[in-house]
């Protein structure tokens, strides 16, 4: 029987466990660690002057997390200067996406967000030029099997990850916001065409609505649910920020979603953010969806700590992974992909990547 989750309680109501309940405070931090939001939790508590109510020892650990987050932000800014310099050779707009875009624009989700890849998008006809420019700057795609090369080059919306030979930083270079093979008809090109100069160096950014839509599409169409709660929190923070700063944001967001074919994705996402974070989406605009997919998503995009996670989470993850594959690849490609993966799984000669304890 799972315990009630102090993290979900904090996210929805802003309340912390009582001072005399050290065990629940510990569980809150452990859940945050499992969800990859320990730095963001720390920053939030610090802002509200509530860090000490976790007890001295956890407060110390959280203050370390704040140091880490602040330094990480500076490091991202430094890295963006390097990437911008490398890409200055190409004559196409380079759009920053996700974490790196939040950091560049200093949007609320940049606070305490740690990430490992910087996502850059250039229009598809400039992709070779951009890859060459980044290679001159010291980034290159590592060794990949022929199959993986083909997966990325022919089907995917990005080229294989490029890693800097000295600093070890990773760039994901995209040419589309979703897999071009995707079954949902998503008008990625319209969103790319509508990108605007960020006003910071040569970087471009997605428009406010498109930024939310891209985050939502990324969350629901990639089954990376171990960071799902963090990504959902990003969307809540983006929504609140844009909604507070521009009038009629909600209406524009929904009509844009309809234009680009992401209406269903947006509805599911906002029902979830509203449920977990109480995102102020007006009731008249958000349908009261409660379909099966949504119920499965709610189990996966939640706390993932073993003491508190919803029952059936593993099953939900597995179902969503199948759904992701289904959405990404049409039947013929799906069959080719799965049979290759199955062959790899049963083949003893394929080199297996191993990770061992330090």
């Amino acid at each position: 029987m799972p315990r009630t989750s102090p993290l979900l309680r904090f996210l929805s109501q802003g309340t912390l466990p009582p001072i005399n309940d050290g065990e629940s405070a510990s569980l809150l931090v452990a859940e945050a660690r499992a969800a990859g939001v320990q730095c963001r939790l720390a920053i939030n508590l610090e802002k509200d002057g509530k860090l000490r109510s976790l007890g001295d020892s956890l407060a110390e650990q959280m203050s370390g997390a704040i140091t880490q987050a602040n330094e990480f932000k500076r490091e991202v800014q430094r890295e963006l200067v390097h990437i911008e310099h490398a890409l200055s050779r190409i004559d196409a707009p380079a759009i920053l996406l996700k974490g790196a875009a939040y950091a560049l624009l200093d949007l609320p989700p940049a606070e305490g967000r740690l990430f490992s890849d910087i996502d850059v998008l250039v229009p598809v006809k400039h992709i070779a030029q951009a890859e060459a420019a980044l290679m001159l700057g010291g980034w290159s795609t590592g060794k990949l099997s022929d199959y993986d090369q083909r997966y990325y080059r022919q089907w995917a919306h990005e080229i294989p990850p490029m890693i800097h030979h000295r600093r070890g930083t990773t760039i994901d270079l995209h040419h589309s916001l979703v897999m071009p093979t995707c079954r949902l008809r998503v008008d990625s090109e319209a969103m790319i065409a509508a990108a605007i100069p960020s006003g910071l160096g040569k970087w471009y950014r997605l428009r406010d609505e498109d930024m939310v839509l891209h985050a939502a599409a990324h969350l629901l169409m990639n089954s990376e649910f171990h960071r799902g709660l963090r990504d959902l929190w990003d969307i809540d923070l983006l929504y609140r920020h844009f909604d507070a700063n521009t009038s009629g944001f909600a209406t524009r967001l929904f009509s844009r979603a309809q234009q680009v074919g992401l209406q269903g994705i947006l509805e599911h996402t906002l029902v979830l953010t509203k449920k977990v974070f109480g995102t102020p989406v007006p009731d008249d605009i958000l349908p009261k969806a409660n379909d099966l997919v949504l119920r499965i998503l709610a189990r996966s995009i939640s706390t993932r700590h073993p003491d508190t996670r919803p029952s059936g989470q593993n099953t939900a993850d597995a179902l969503l992974a199948i759904r992701e594959m289904y959405l990404r690849l049409p039947w013929r490609l799906l069959l080719v992909h799965l049979s290759h993966k199955a062959a790899t799984f049963f083949s003893p000669t394929e080199p297996v990547e191993t990770k061992t304890a330090a």
């Binding site: 370390g64 330094e71 490091e75 700590h305 990770k355 304890a357």
Partner: protein, 304 residues
């Protein structure tokens, strides 16, 4: 809080299974959960003298040593290191579970305890003089730490130097991890020392742990002031050499051996600079533990 050995063993075992076991390692309170009996036994042996609770309560880190997945169990009895529900490493054989716990705990502290500047170094103290023994793996750092711990020095750590904001060394006193021939060396020189269970043929060789001395455990909340930074290097045919090292050199080498220096940014730099300014740095080549111990004792006596 009572020590682990003061609790009844069956009570400890059931607390380890049901999640109400807490072990106090210096500043850190660790929730340790495991359904693997071999691991619980090793824990009881290696951490007998540590404050421990069997009634739940607050913790800094929640670690589980879990059996690997149901299907893998059929092939081989494996154990995974799990922090807050996530397993960052490949599973290992159950007989290596206690070694896996030590590595995993080092990794946990190195990844999440950024309130400290964390250096890969043994930390010892004598006559109020804190000494960092900083070296790459295979330089005999742990053997030297074990030798000193068994000769009356206070053991703060054999792996991790935790430097707090006030440039004090925070103890993280744990069993000393001995590898391969070090195990026999320590057994030969100190037949009275009781080592923990041997983990044979791990990816780092054969491992056995020397429990920390009781006197060190009882002082595991007292910080030490850093006075000396020594870079020891053991080799079988080395001629003894002890030479002072510039603080700049010392700083560069410590950065090389740090877990979280870049993560701390400016704070890391400032702490490191103050550390190398308040401590003298020395380089020591040796082949005999007697020579090394005598030299270190002389250094601390002169500075006491």
């Amino acid at each position: 809080m009572p020590r682990l050995e003061e609790h009844l063993a069956p009570r400890v075992r059931s607390a380890v299974v049901n999640g109400s076991f807490r072990l106090e390692i210096g500043q850190f309170s660790i929730k340790i959960t495991s359904a693997i009996p071999e691991f619980a036994d090793a824990l009881i042996r290696l951490y007998a003298g540590y404050p421990a609770s069997v009634e739940g309560g607050a913790y800094d880190f929640d670690i589980a040593i879990s059996p690997a997945s149901f299907f893998r169990q059929w092939a081989r009895r494996n154990a995974s290191f799990v922090l807050s529900g996530e397993a960052p490493f490949l599973p290992m054989h159950v007989n290596h579970a206690h070694a896996l716990f030590e590595w995993g705990l080092n990794w946990t502290i190195g990844s999440y305890a950024h309130q400290y500047l964390i250096l890969h170094s043994a930390v010892m103290e004598k006559h109020g003089c804190g000494v960092l023994l900083s070296a790459t793996s295979g330089s005999g750092k742990s053997t030297l730490a074990a030798e000193l711990a068994l000769s009356g020095w206070r053991l703060l750590s054999d792996e991790l130097a935790l430097v707090d904001q006030k440039i004090r060394l925070v103890p993280c006193t744990r069993p000393v991890s001995l590898k391969n021939q070090s195990i026999d060396i320590v057994r030969e020189r100190h037949p009275e020392a009781l080592l923990g269970p041997v983990a044979a043929d791990t990816h780092k060789g054969t491992i056995a742990h020397l429990p920390a001395p009781k006197t060190s455990i009882s002082r595991s909340l007292d910080t030490a002031l850093p006075k000396l930074i020594v870079f020891p290097k053991w080799s079988a045919d080395a001629r003894f050499r002890l030479e002072p090292l510039g603080s700049g050199q010392a700083a560069m080498r410590l950065i090389d051996q740090s877990f979280n220096y870049p993560i701390l940014g400016r704070q890391g730099f400032e702490r490191l600079v103050e550390l190398v300014h308040t401590s003298e740095a020395w380089e020591m080549d040796y082949s005999s533990l007697d020579d090394a111990r005598a030299a270190l004792e002389q250094l601390v006596v002169e500075r006491a």
